[in-house]
Symmetry: C2
Subunit: 606 residues, 2 copies
């Protein structure tokens, strides 16, 4: 094999302060593609069963795919693969920016970090030179501050950084890339921190190899043209993800006050247009992306005047806006910026804060637990203080909440699990499944817990005439098919927002690598990846009865908006899950059958 | 000038049974493009002021555009231009199929029919040979039957036909093209009938001239590719226009029971998926269209088993489904088929029937007026009988309703104008403006009365974050800009459903004709056309205070669905109309200013 993968893996052992270069596993790229899929295979093969995610034995991988760093549009993305400290399961956390493309230019397809350094360290990589450097000066520094320090110290490097939340092993702490992009979900920051690794700085000057550069270039240009001609791109460019605040609120299923409602009265004051009018200064883009969906924002007035950030994205406007009763783009932006700089995932933190406020209202958390903070819906300053306490595990509530809502509810008791909104420990994103039942099945079966990116069924459920958004009918098939396709797509790895057809993906993959895949074998690779991760999760102790949803979605209904009065039916959900298992070729308990594993060339993993 | 227009106009004088060939006005194609725009100019120049639309002096034009019959996708369309007997104003009624492309192949850019034949006649055109033939054998025949008769008698000809409704001068009677496509709105069928003209049969064997055939072909292929790559096309192909039943109902503004509600409880049983499951046999397309949005349907069971048609389209499902309380695709299909074969516009007829049922419920129309028919919501058989009576002006109610809701309400009195839902005499289509205020302004200012195609703001209003669907804010600018752009587009003339950019339109136009237009001058031509038609309407007696909406939209609100309780504000509407006039460069009374007309080279029309 040649092209998109040279097969070079940089293995860093922090215990021995040594590095090695490997090119094993690269043949597996034909079956597992790259980034997510190939990462999953390496993790399965190398991680001892039952490893504590925050022990030195856990493996932290930065992975790229066969298209990363190439002329393919949106190919600046990479993936963090590890065992999640939040879910105890497989984690792939994707990131934009330029870091991943730079890895490829430096000659590395994967960077694997093992072990633990004795004291805070950062790693400086320039092509094949690797140095371990003292991080005591930047430990405790916030993310952007660290990024800027590295720029000053190391030159124009690309960076992966943890903030104070990661250092304090907050279970939903992020890794921040290039100052403004984040591998947010599932706690990769805590894994990096458990290795005493504050940052990686990388620069590369090589060329990303391509099997057939000339044809690849023609195809990549044709794909670029299609993206430019796509009707939806001008809107995506103009607004970015905040575009969705308006329709999701109008359709009545934006998380509101910890998922107690689905319609936020102040939806208009946190939507994309208000953002543009009040805080957006300009746009920006990840490496090699013509879409340019970033909003570069700054607060123009009030007590947080001058605060700037890239964002907020839709998920943050939902989880830290409507879900917390915050009806001002400036205040969401302020909370967002705090979260970014402390290094936490905004989706999980929004869920955690919503849970905390409801628990406080119900007397399950007291003002004493909160170190005197009187939290409440829309009370931004109090939330900002609590965010800081969570990041530093300061008050007793801060320390408990830093574990995420699942463990917090276990520790707090008093029926607080009734309003702990998560699946498998991962807090649920910005689409309440009561307004699009398919999202319920998508959350329940997602490989990393409550995630919307594995099968985003929203548009189809609301718009397509063959789907009823208030029914589980036909959702099992939809969710299964999208999961397989996305598993392949996230292994190439391209951006979720890029409208690139399966045919074009396969063409670019083949031309980059010299493979002769078909659309069918590409989608089959996606299914293979999905099944391997299921096997990994089962090995690590997943009880398939955890393929479930939080009780709120079945028990409580909204009092207003178009989804008023609607709850998920338990029977409907169970029936749909059964159908999903069947379509996956899994047994009635949700375990892949021997037959399916043989079909996917995964028999040896059974 | 060369290319897309040879400048050949076939002028048929039915009074003298003579024909003439003209090539005047073709220079005007640079300023008025073709089809709609050039047709408007010819009508303005040739029609004596104040002509009775049903007199021999009215002019019936079949017009094509510079792209008609070329390799440009969706270029099989043409336009009927005349003075409408329903509104007394300008009418452009567009049609698909293949007739228009055949006109170009026969060598004719326009066919103009003047005068009146003494007895029923049809015209047979083969290239430049024109024959007048006796139509006594087909007079009173339905549309498809007439089409089939012409196929048998004349060979494989393309056809334009009126049905019994046209013969009886029903004010919303259609002209049917090639058996299955319709120039439906505004009563062109009655104009054709007033000339004693039952049909035109045409066949052509020439080549459509193109200024730069090679470059045109390359551009047209590139546009085809973009259409094929467009995300929305597979859905449009799968469902056609019925796709919209689900979202418009879900969003709460599908006309229901004569616009008394905006949400139809049986929405699911008249949506696109139910259609596919129960009646759709396959798809079809107009000439040179890769989208292929037609649904070829047939009723599989019940008393109308075997009835087949192309349709129903969205508008018919809305106006003859939810708007009449009909919750079965079979029954809508049955009413649709009756309407097609009798030769009437389904939008207007749906509005007329909804009005009739409400008037009957309120005692304004009696069972006696209806010849004993006990009409009511959802009562399909009774409606079918009334449809037949309207087409034949049989009962006193049938005769009154054949005039459309405006005149019917005038004649019936008793406050029935309170629920006569029209603008300028043209019944309103399937988007209740209470759920998308911009559509209110679009209907009020449309050049041919209550029409949705002049500025369809629905998707933008519901989805785009800079628009609030329950406000008139920013709607004036949106409506004005879309109207200008569509006026140009409908002059080329391409299909409303084809996603073709302004840039591509202009490139194809230039390559077809040898012009050197820019996007700016193309859009300016659209604005010029819009203003010329305004001048025509003012000349024909339009009182600008008729730029208004029916009272129901201001006075009555829905009792359920997401638009519950909402009405248009009179002040908001007037303010928005004022803003619209201002943006158009019209005076406060809605009359184009001298300055604007000079700017558009229309000073001589002032």
């Amino acid at each position: 094999m040649s092209g998109g993968y040279t097969g070079k893996i940089l293995v860093i052992d922090l215990n021995t302060r040594s590095t090695a270069v490997e090119d094993t596993y690269i043949d597996a790229a034909k079956n597992f593609i790259g980034a997510k899929g190939l990462g999953a295979k390496l993790l399965f093969d190398r991680l001892p069963k039952g490893t504590d995610p925050l022990s030195p034995e856990n493996i932290l991988m930065f992975t790229t795919g066969p298209l990363t760093g190439t002329r393919a549009q949106t190919s600046g993305r990479g993936t963090v693969v590890t065992k999640s400290p939040q879910t105890g399961l497989f984690l792939d956390s994707h990131f934009g920016g330029i870091f991943a493309a730079e890895m490829k230019k430096a000659g590395w397809d994967f960077i694997i970090v093992n072990g633990r350094f004795d004291n805070p360290v950062y790693i400086s990589i320039t092509n094949d030179s690797v140095e371990f450097k003292d991080a005591s000066e930047i430990w405790e520094k916030e993310c952007l501050e660290t990024h800027n320090w590295l720029q000053k110290t190391e030159g124009r490097v690309k960076t992966a950084i943890i903030g104070p939340a990661g250092e304090n092993l907050v279970k939903f702490s992020a890794i921040t890339f290039d100052g403004h992009r984040h591998a947010g979900r599932g706690g990769p920051g805590a894994v990096m921190s458990s290795k005493n690794l504050k940052a990686i700085a990388i620069s590369g000057s090589g060329k990303v190899p391509i099997h057939d550069p000339e044809k690849f270039s023609i195809t990549a240009r044709a794909v670029l043209k299609k993206i430019q001609d796509n009707d939806f791109i001008p809107i995506r460019r103009k607004y970015g993800t905040p575009y969705w605040v308006k329709p999701i609120n109008d359709w009545g299923f934006i998380p509101t006050r910890n998922y107690q409602e689905g319609y936020f009265e102040q939806g208009n004051t946190i939507n994309a247009e208000t953002m543009r009018e009040r805080i957006v200064d300009g746009s920006g883009a990840c490496w090699n992306c013509v879409i340019a969906c970033w909003n570069k924002s700054s607060i123009k007035s009030g007590s947080h005047k001058g605060v700037s950030l890239v964002g907020p994205e839709y998920e943050t406007l939902a989880l830290m806006g409507s879900n917390l009763g915050v009806g001002s783009v400036e205040e969401v932006a302020y909370l967002n910026e705090r979260c970014n700089e402390l290094g936490m995932d905004t989706i999980s933190l929004g869920g955690v804060l919503g849970f905390a406020i409801e628990a406080y209202e119900k007397g399950v958390i007291t003002k004493g637990d909160l170190g005197g903070i009187d939290v409440g819906w829309g009370k931004t300053e109090e939330m900002a203080r609590l965010i800081d306490d969570i990041a530093h595990r300061r008050s007793s509530a801060g320390d408990v909440l830093a574990e995420g809502v699942r463990i917090a509810a276990e520790k707090l008791g008093k029926n607080s699990e009734e309003y702990a909104v998560h699946t498998k420990g991962l807090e649920i994103p910005g689409y309440d499944p009561r307004g699009a039942f398919g999202m319920g099945l998508a959350y329940a079966t997602s490989d990393r817990g409550g995630c919307h990116q594995r099968a985003w069924t929203v548009r189809a459920e609301v718009m397509d005439p063959d789907l009823d958004r208030f029914s589980f009918k036909k959702k099992a098939k939809l969710v299964k098919e999208v999961q397989d396709e996305r598993a392949a797509f996230f292994s190439l790895v391209l951006c979720d927002f890029a409208p690139i057809s399966e045919r074009d993906c396969v063409d670019m993959w083949n031309l980059a690598t010299g493979f002769d895949h078909t659309v069918e074998s590409y989608l089959l690779a996606g299914e293979r990846i999905w099944n391997l991760i299921r096997l990994f999760n089962l090995r690590e102790g997943l009880d398939p009865t955890e393929d479930k949803l939080p009780p709120r979605f079945f028990n409580d209904s909204f009092t207003k908006g178009p989804v008023k009065g609607i709850v998920l039916s338990k029977e409907g959900f169970q029936q749909s899950l059964k159908e999903y298992y069947y379509l996956r070729g899994w047994d009635a308990k949700g375990i892949p059958t021997e037959k399916k594993l043989k079909e996917l060339d995964l028999a040896k993993y059974a």
